[in-house]
């Protein structure tokens, strides 16, 4: 089959690789009908995440039709049309039983590696380096889905691929970012990053009852998309984010702040940004917490900072004084997709939201390298790229 494989920094190639086979008793093989490029894939593309091997198949947002099932998969059969969750979860361990699916203790064969970096290993993930298990990803024609009885969601034929594909990752992720804010009626929520996940955070914040949502970015088309969802926006290249938020909230600050940006943040000013870049070049700081610092400083006293943007290593100059002295809370994590996706599918079926609104580019799988480039450089008003194998 053809698959999009990683070969180094900003080097991905679509090439012929073997077809996947059933290896474990609860596997299924899915013939992929649609797959997407995620913002976190760019961290792999730019080689920020270690333990990549040449030839690794990328991609963790995919869906399709089941063409083969392992002997112990009881709730799926050949022919089922499913969306696949990006976390791989066994369903039986301490964490899966609490529906904290991205913390599964059994699904990462390279747990020892992640343990060395993080203290403990999170779950296995499709196509996301060997730290998360070295599983082949879904930017391909077929994929082997371990624990298919837990990690797939049947979707009705009345909904198109584009309407449900994002249940695999970015819709639940944006939603979890908003849910972690514990939104109360009347709340103001500020969202850093109006990429696809940020767009879903904005929509989810409204769904969860926020009264005002403020989107922060610098790309005009992303700000426009946020405004179309009902958000007010701040272009941080035209005004100072903190000042603007203070002005909009009468000096109190937003009730909660969502960091939908993560480790490759852009847009710091002056000394601290120069410091971050210098330290990164020396390899002394792995992640740039620019959006995170801003979110903490801007958040109102007693508010919640929800971190759903991906971080991998260590950050510097964390405003712990501000955090502690003002009773802030931080909630974070890789999304527990399988916990959210039933409820979110209902929202889609009820017409509350059509996730396909973020898609700006559609191309065949063979053009994946071009897709990565366009997405990275935000060319051609690109917000989300969907690939068709």
């Amino acid at each position: 089959m053809r698959a999009n494989c990683w070969y180094g920094k900003q080097d991905v190639r679509v090439e012929q690789v073997p077809d996947p086979k059933i290896l474990n008793r609860r596997d299924a093989i899915v013939q992929i009908s649609s797959t997407a490029i995620c913002g976190s894939d760019l961290h792999l593309y730019n080689h920020f995440i270690p333990t990549m091997e040449k030839g690794d198949i990328l991609g963790h947002e995919f869906m399709g039709e089941i063409v083969e099932v392992g002997p112990d998969v009881k709730n799926r059969k050949v022919g089922d049309r499913v969306v696949v969750s990006f976390p791989i979860s066994c369903g039986n361990c301490f964490f899966c039983k609490q529906e904290l699916f991205s913390l599964c203790e059994n699904s990462n064969p390279n747990a020892w590696m992640a343990e060395k970096m993080f203290g403990h290993s999170p779950c296995g993930i499709f196509g996301y380096s060997h730290l998360t298990g070295g599983f082949a990803g879904g930017q391909a024609e077929y994929a082997r889905v371990p624990f298919a009885d837990v990690g797939t969601l049947k979707v009705p034929s009345t909904l198109s691929d584009e309407q449900v594909l994002f249940l695999s990752d970015i819709f639940p992720t944006g939603y979890m970012g908003a849910e972690m804010c514990d939104i109360k009626p009347g709340d103001t929520v500020a969202v850093w990053g109006c990429g696809p996940v940020g767009q879903f955070s904005i929509k989810s914040a409204f769904l969860l009852g926020a009264e005002r949502v403020i989107g922060i970015d610098r790309i005009p088309e992303r700000l426009r998309m946020a405004e179309a969802s009902g958000a007010e926006t701040i272009n941080y290249e035209e005004e100072n984010t903190y000042e603007a938020l203070m002005e909009m909230t009468g000096g109190r600050g937003p009730d909660s702040c969502i960091d939908d940006v993560g480790l490759e943040a852009h847009g710091g000013h002056g000394i601290v940004y120069a410091y971050d870049r210098a330290k990164q070049m020396l390899g002394a700081e792995t992640d740039r917490p620019i959006a995170l610092r801003e979110a903490i400083m801007a958040c109102r006293n007693g508010g919640t900072v929800s971190v759903i943007g991906v971080y991998g290593g260590f950050i510097d100059k964390f405003p712990m004084g501000s955090f502690m002295n003002r009773s802030l809370q931080m909630r974070t994590g890789q999304c527990h997709v399988q916990h959210y996706w039933h409820k979110l599918l209902e929202h889609i079926e009820n017409g509350d939201i059509d996730p396909s609104f973020v898609i700006t580019h559609r191309m065949p799988l063979d053009e994946a390298p071009q897709g990565f480039d366009t997405f990275l450089n935000k060319e051609d008003d690109c917000i989300k790229v969907v690939l068709k194998p």
Binding site: N92, N106, G133, A136
Partner: protein
Amino acid sequence: MATSKRQLNKQTKDEGQTTPAAPRQQSGGVQAARRRRSSGRTSNVRGNGPGRADLQNSNAERLARGLAWFSLGLGLAELLAPRAIAKISGTEGKHTGLIRLYGLREIASGIGIFAQGERPTEAVWSRVVGDALDIATLAVAAASPKTSKGRLAFATANVLAVTALDVLCAQQLSANETGGTEVKKSIIINATPEEIYNYWHDFERLPTFMKHLESVRTTGERRSHWVAKAPAGTTVEWDAEITEDRPNELIAWRSVEGADVDNAGTVRFEEAPGGRGTIVHVDLEYSAPGGVVGSMVAKLFGEEPAQQINDDLRRLKQVIEVGEIVLSDGTYFDNGLLTQRAAQPVASGEAGQSQGASAS
């Protein structure tokens, strides 16, 4: 989950020892649980109290500190006066950049030794790596016509002497009180102590999740014959004897005379707090084949016992909670750092056996 539990109970082997007639009377409450936990921790394989080995350790630590000061001094000299260093070792004076880099490396090692505190094992091993680099560099210099052979020989002799000290120190720091290597690992599994004790007691099944074991054969009431994989495709064998067997609590064993690798250990099954299953504690002592240096090399290939025991326990947890060992494309054959394959499906013709092959 329920099915696998029933299957575990069915597979209990009758080895002729007395099975408990009735459930043991457990004293209740958190206090009792705390007492049970703490008593478990002090019972271990080796003896208590300071001895010759403790003295040996503090000597090693003093040597390490001396080497750290030496590192800092030499490092500063290489950094600030690289041409002088080049002259003393008889090499040309033009590789000042390289010498400065080595200076930085020496300083880093020195700082590392101080930073690691009481047992700077890894930092001293990093000095050994640095020494290997130095020796290699001097060897390359020997080939050049412009070197002063006499001075080079003098420098090499010094480096070799320091290398010997480094290796000695590192070995002493790495070894434990009895001169062997000790591994203590534990894992929490969602099953009762009884279920896991029964699963473990069927020794012939251990190779299904203990990747480094090739086979285990029961040869007597408390005896078994073990074959384990060793680095570079070889095997080691030994006969083991159960020295203590407390049902649902503890199994202790020891290799008998004539073993390729002397080893002894215990596996303890402790009820986890909050009814969250069982904590399995493995405490193993062995004399590493190839000594401690061999053990360091084995680490890179994922064959170092401490790492292996940890992964074995993880696989045991998978087998009990999930029913089989979870495979991925990248770790299909092995999950060592240098033995991962690309995260792509395995081709039908690809040679070798998967990690989980023995589990089926």
